[in-house]
Symmetry: C2
Subunit: 339 residues, 2 copies
DNA sequence: ATTAGCACTCTCTCGATGAGAGTGCCAATC
DNA sequence: GATTGGCACTCTCATCGAGAGAGTGCTAAT
C-alpha cells in the first residue's frame, strides 16, 4: 500500500484536485502544493510510479493524470476514519428527520431528500421491511353484513388492513372468537418465521369457516411477501446530470436505469456489511450499470435498512461518508424510539 | 382552423414525419406523399402560409420545417378522436393490472410501469387520495398496558393504524366505549369533511380521557393531511434521455427535476379536467420546466386520480392518447371492484 | 393556382494549422 | 542517488476556410 510519504501525498493531491476540477491534473499544478516541496520533474517520476502500480492513468500522452478506480480505492482507504459532519449539517439532518413525526415512511422520505440535497448526488434509502418484527395480534372488525376488515398489529406497528368478504353466517361473536384464537396462537412469533405451514396451522385450527380462512390466508401471503421486499426511495437523480461524466446521455442512461429498478438497487446494495460505512467504486460494483459510479452506503437499525449515495467515481468521498454515516445513525436512533 | 384539405394534410405530414425522424422536414420529401399530388414548389408555398399562421417554423434558412407548439396543438385537435389501442397491448395492460391483485398501491405501480414501457416515455400516476371516501369506524385495540393501536376504516379500506400511548388508567372497556362513541358520531361523514372542528367535537364529546383524545387527534391530523395529497409514482425517466431533444443535459435537467418533485407534478397535472384525455403541449404547460415537453393525461375514478405520459413535444400523440385513455378506464374499473 | 428553374443562404463536415499543455527523458546538480 | 532544469515530443483542442449538400424564396411560364 503506497501510504509512504510522498507517494501517498501525490495520490491524495491528484485525487482531490481532480475531484474539485473534473480535469486531468498536471505535475506542475501538484508541485505547487505546500506539503510537497519539490519540482514538477520529481512529481512526474512519482506519478509515473503510481501509474505503474495502477493507481493513476492518462487519458492521452500529453494530458495530466486522473485516478483509476483502484487509485480512488487506495485514497479512500487512507481516510475512511476521517472528519465528522459539520455541526450545522447535523442539525439540519436532525430537524428534517424530526419533522416527519416518527412515521416510518415519512422518515425514509425525508432521509432520502436530505441526503441528496446535502451532497448533491443521488441518494437511495432502503426502508426497513417488517421481517424483523414480531406478530402481536389479528383483529377482524365487522363492517356491516358480509364484510369485515382484518388488521394485524406487530411489534413495529400496524400492517395495512384489508377488506374481507364474509359468509353471511359469520356472527360478530364468531369474528371475535376467531381473532382471539389466531392472536393467541401466533403472538410473539417473528414475522419472518410466519411460514406458510405455520399460518395454515394457526388459521386452520382456529375455525371451520373455510371461506373466511382462505381470505385471510390470501391476504397474509400477499402482504408478507411485500413486506419481505425492501422499499426503495431514490432522490436527486437530477444532480447526476450536472456532473461532467454524465453529460453524454449514453453515460447517464445506464445509471438512471439502475436507479429506477428495485431489483438493480437490491443488487447494488446487497454487498453491504451489517454495520459501518461501505464504499463501492466504479468497477467494484457488481452492477455493470454502475461502472461509472461510486456507491457510499451504510446500514441502519442493525442491517434492517440501508442508506446510500450514488455519484460519479470522482466523488467527494469525505463528505459522502460523513453524511451517510451520520444519517444511518440518526435513522437507527429515530426508529428505536418509534418502535 | 386550418383543417381545410391541403393545408391540414401538409401540417399532418410534417408533424408525422418529424415525429418519426426528429429532423426538419423538407418540401421535397413531403411532396412525394400519395395524398398530395403536387410539386415541392406548391408544398413550399403552403408551408410558408402555415409558417405565417405560426404552425411551423424554421431552425434556419436552408433547413426544413418543424412544427411549433401551436402546430402540434392544431394537429392534435385534428385527431383526438382517433384510434383505439391495439388488442395485444390492451391485453398486456389488463394482465399487468390483474397481477397486482386488487391492491391499490400495487395497481398504481403497475400502471406507471406499464405505461412507460408501452410508450417509451416517462409516466406519472397520481394515486387516489382518501378524500372522496367516507368514515366508517374507529377501533382502539389494546396492546398490553399503556399502549393501544388506533385503526380507522373508510369506505375505501383501512387507514394506516398508529400506536398510541395510553394513561394506564384506561381499561379495555373504556377503549371499547370510546371507539363506539366516535364511530357512531362520525360514521358516514366524507373524509374530506372531517374538519378540525368536527373532529374536536366528536372526540371531545366522547370521553374525559384527555391524553388519549390528544393522541388520536394528533394522529388523525397527520394522516388526513397526508391523505389529502396525491401520491405520485413516476416511471421511465430513463426513456427521456434517449430522445434527441434531451441529449443536452441542460435540456434534460429541468424535466427530470420536475419529475422528482411532487409539488411540481401536482402543478403539471392540476389543469386536468374531470374526465377525458387532456394534452398540454410545450409552452402550454404552466410549469416552465416542462417547456420542452408534452403531457398527455387522463383522470380515473371520476377525477380521484390521474395517469399521464410525459415526453418531448415531438411525441407520438396517437399512441400516447390511446394508452392513457385505456389505462385510465381500466384503473377506474379495477378500483370500482376493489372498493 | 401550380409549377419548373435558379440563385441564394445556411449548416455541416473535413482537413490543415497552430497554440497549448504536459509528458518523458537526459544530463547536470546537490 | 534522489532531485532538478531543460528540451524535444506528442497529443488535444480551437479555429479557419473550402466545398458539398440541403432546402428555401422568388420569378416567370403554364
Amino acid at each position: 500500500m503506497p501510504l509512504e510519504g510522498r507517494k501517498g501525498a501525490v495520490l491524495r493531491a491528484v485525487v482531490e484536485e481532480h475531484v474539485r476540477s473534473a480535469e486531468p491534473v498536471g505535475s506542475e499544478h501538484t508541485a505547487l502544493l505546500e506539503e510537497l516541496r519539490c519540482s514538477s520533474a520529481t512529481i512526474r517520476s512519482v506519478m509515473a510510479a503510481l501509474e505503474d502500480e495502477g493507481l493513476l492513468t492518462h487519458p492521452h500522452t500529453s494530458a495530466g493524470r486522473i485516478p483509476t478506480d483502484l487509485g480512488y480505492r487506495v485514497y479512500v482507504d487512507m481516510l475512511l476514519d476521517a472528519e465528522p459532519l459539520p455541526v450545522g449539517e447535523r442539525q439540519a439532518i436532525r430537524r428534517r428527520l424530526e419533522s416527519s413525526g416518527g412515521d416510518v415512511a415519512d422518515l425514509a422520505d425525508q432521509a432520502a431528500r436530505t441526503l441528496s440535497s446535502l451532497t448533491r448526488y443521488a441518494s437511495v434509502v432502503a426502508a426497513l421491511g417488517i421481517h424483523h418484527q414480531t406478530f402481536r395480534s389479528l383483529h377482524l372488525l365487522a363492517q356491516g353484513p358480509g364484510h369485515a376488515v382484518a388488521v394485524i398489529t406487530t411489534s413495529g406497528g400496524v400492517l395495512q388492513g384489508r377488506l374481507i368478504d364474509l359468509p353471511i353466517s359469520v356472527s360478530d361473536a364468531d369474528l371475535d372468537q376467531i381473532s382471539r384464537v389466531i392472536t393467541q396462537t401466533l403472538r410473539g412469533i417473528p414475522i419472518a418465521d410466519l411460514t406458510q405451514e405455520r399460518l395454515e396451522k394457526a388459521i386452520g385450527d382456529a375455525t371451520r369457516h373455510h371461506q373466511l380462512v382462505e381470505a385471510i390466508r390470501a391476504w397474509l401471503r400477499r402482504d408478507l411477501a411485500r413486506g419481505s421486499r425492501l422499499q426503495y426511495r431514490v432522490e436527486g437523480r437530477r444532480h447526476l446530470l450536472q456532473e461532467p461524466e454524465f453529460q453524454r446521455p449514453e453515460a447517464a442512461t445506464p445509471v438512471l436505469s439502475a436507479l429506477e429498478e428495485d431489483s438493480m438497487l437490491a443488487l447494488a446494495l446487497a454487498a453491504a456489511p451489517s454495520e459501518g460505512v461501505w464504499i463501492s467504486i466504479g468497477s467494484e460494483n457488481r452492477l455493470a450499470e454502475l461502472r461509472a459510479c461510486s456507491v457510499v452506503a451504510a446500514t441502519y437499525s442493525a442491517g434492517g435498512g440501508a442508506v446510500a449515495i450514488v455519484g460519479p467515481t470522482r466523488m467527494r468521498y469525505r463528505r459522502a461518508v460523513a453524511a451517510v454515516r451520520y444519517m444511518a445513525n440518526r435513522l437507527s436512533e429515530s426508529l428505536r424510539h418509534a418502535v
